[in-house]
Amino acid sequence: MDIQLKLEVKEISKAYGNNEVLRRVNFAVLDGEFFSILGSSGCGKTTLLQILIGLLVADAGKIFKDGADITTLEPARRGMGIVFQNYALFDNMTVFKNVSYALQFHSVDNEAAIKKAAQMLDIVGLKNFSAKMPAELSGGQQQRVAIARALALEPDIILFDEPLSALDASTRLDIRRELKNIQRTLGTTMIYVTHDQEEAFALSDKIMILNRGVVSQIGSPEEIISAPANDYVKTFVLDNLQTKIDSLRRFLT
């Protein structure tokens, strides 16, 4: 087995009544990889994410992390963090408290917690915002708090559920850059759920395209562009990207 294999997902299926949301999904994520799950809304990507983190239970299939079966492990014991689209910050706590709050439940002493939170806020560039309340921050800043909060517990995988879709274009670019930086500095494996092709292609080492609960293709951006596995990948992913490129080209030439 490859020594670098971080997460292995085998034959995951999930249905709500007669509605099959995920069918026999298989994929593997390497250590330190930036892995995107790309699909239009309703393709099952959020359900998959919730199964990975343990908020939902799959009907069938197994999940291995570092070779160990974590399929039925509680969310908090999987060593993963999560960042939601709507941040889900504790808005009655300061930015600092948001980041440090959970540490007390992991036998981290007070002093260490303070140090840790400060360090995380530094990483996401919010050192000077510690005493602010979430409501006083911009959307991008709030999302950074959510990232810092997830990082504080030192997870080796962080999951992102469409984290940038509520933000404006320039903030998105900023945070994209920052995510890459964090990935590089901390070496954290990142699993990133999005419906935005451009985002996925710009950030990812590897992309998995999900269509109606079924995996269409897994590969590096280059592989997908050079050899789309089927019509869906061609129309949904590549044609869309082409349109964007074409519209920009008008101004560039």
Partner: protein
Amino acid sequence: MRKTFLICVAVIFSAGIFAPLGSLFLRITPEGFVQVINSPQFSSAVWNTISTGLIATIISLTLALAAAWTLERTAIKHKNFFVIIFGVPMLIPSISHSFGLVALFGANGWLTNIFQWNFNIYGAAGIIAGSIMYAFPVAFFIFMSVLQCEDGSPYLAAEVLGVPKIRQFLDLTLPYLKRTIISTFFAIFSMIATDYGVPLMIGGKTITLSVLMYNKAVAMMDYNSGSVIGAFLIIPAVIAFLADILNPAQKQNDFAKNISVDDKYSSRAGFIFCLSLSALIVAPILTFCVMIFAAKYPADMSFTLYHVMRTIHRGALDNWLNSLIIAFISAGVGTIFSFALAYFSTRTEGFAARIIHLLSIFPMTIPGIALGLGYVIFFHDLPIYGTLIILAAVNVMHFFSSPYLMMRNTLEKISSNVEAVGKVLGIPRRFIIRDIILPKVRFTLYEMFAYFFVNAMMTISAVSYLAPPAPKPIALMITQFEAQRLIESAAVVSIAILLTNLALKIFFTMLNRKTPASQ
């Protein structure tokens, strides 16, 4: 944990609602049923209940909608003043409204004497007037809150397109309010039809079903006839309940835009309308304030403390203290219990959550006068009978649904990802509730506490069966004074209840101001 919770809820609802209600229905015998519905009083009571109830409901709704629209949609001055005044009648028992009407419009009433009127307020007219006073504020606050939530963008569009204001009201506002109007109509009708306070005092010979039930079950302790009438009184409430759940609320638009003040125009007619309504609402209370210090209202207006002292001597102080204890227990226990159920029904998934929700809104359908009778029949031989505990318990169950819905509304606005984050970060749920949810819902908790407190303080329905003769809840002194037609003492007690409730409201208002909103 989850299992224990569900078992506790099942036990509480069985003992607090279903067993008493079942005992009430089991008390009905075929002979008793036939005897009651064949009596001449019964058919006329049904007719009186429906006719006065319908008229009062329609007028209350019309006035409430007009007042709410004027305050919400025109640039009226002193808006907050009007909102406070319109809320005052909700702080005194229903029966006090009819004492107020007698003091003003009775044969020897203040206004009757001034204007030398010669008409009779007793009977259907009095019931309708009193019921409007009792129901108007409830309908008003429902319309206010719904109008506040309406999306302003269609109005902007209409304004730009040059649609006149009246057409905006008819084509945008009314369709938007349709559902609220329907469900409020049934709710208000059932509220009026099941109240006995107003018609008891001022109904004259016009006897409604609720008064008939009161006369049979409370005054004469004829529980068999009372059970039959009680079963009938549940009907309007069940209709209201069905109207509500079969007519689900439309989803709030996330992008709703507030209706901006710039678009509002000021209207002199609206101001005069609200001012006259306020005068009508305040008049009985002011009359009470004069009456309790007048030697012999209205003939001899010299100042005296005689009525106050006499009312105290009749046990008002002990009863007031007793009410205060009951109100605090009901409010404390009720708030915790309704929070727990609202939390469970909104923030957990699955079948149990839906059942809990249905259970929680079910108590709305049971009129207090019927629930109280069920309690008497069911709890009669148990040791808690005749204690404060049972009075607090019946209050919690009786008034449970509204605070539950308040909390549910608030909790639904909090992202469910908060719990997900807690799970992923390994924060135990009780800490999530304590450190994140509770601080966020603090104001709703205050509101719920106040709701339980105020209602426990002024209820005369369920407790009228359960209260021991002394000390009893102070509001029940008013029904006793009704029997003896002691209007001054009733006024003293009404004002005491009003002041107590006002004090609590002011306390919470100050608390809210001191701690700024976290949201």
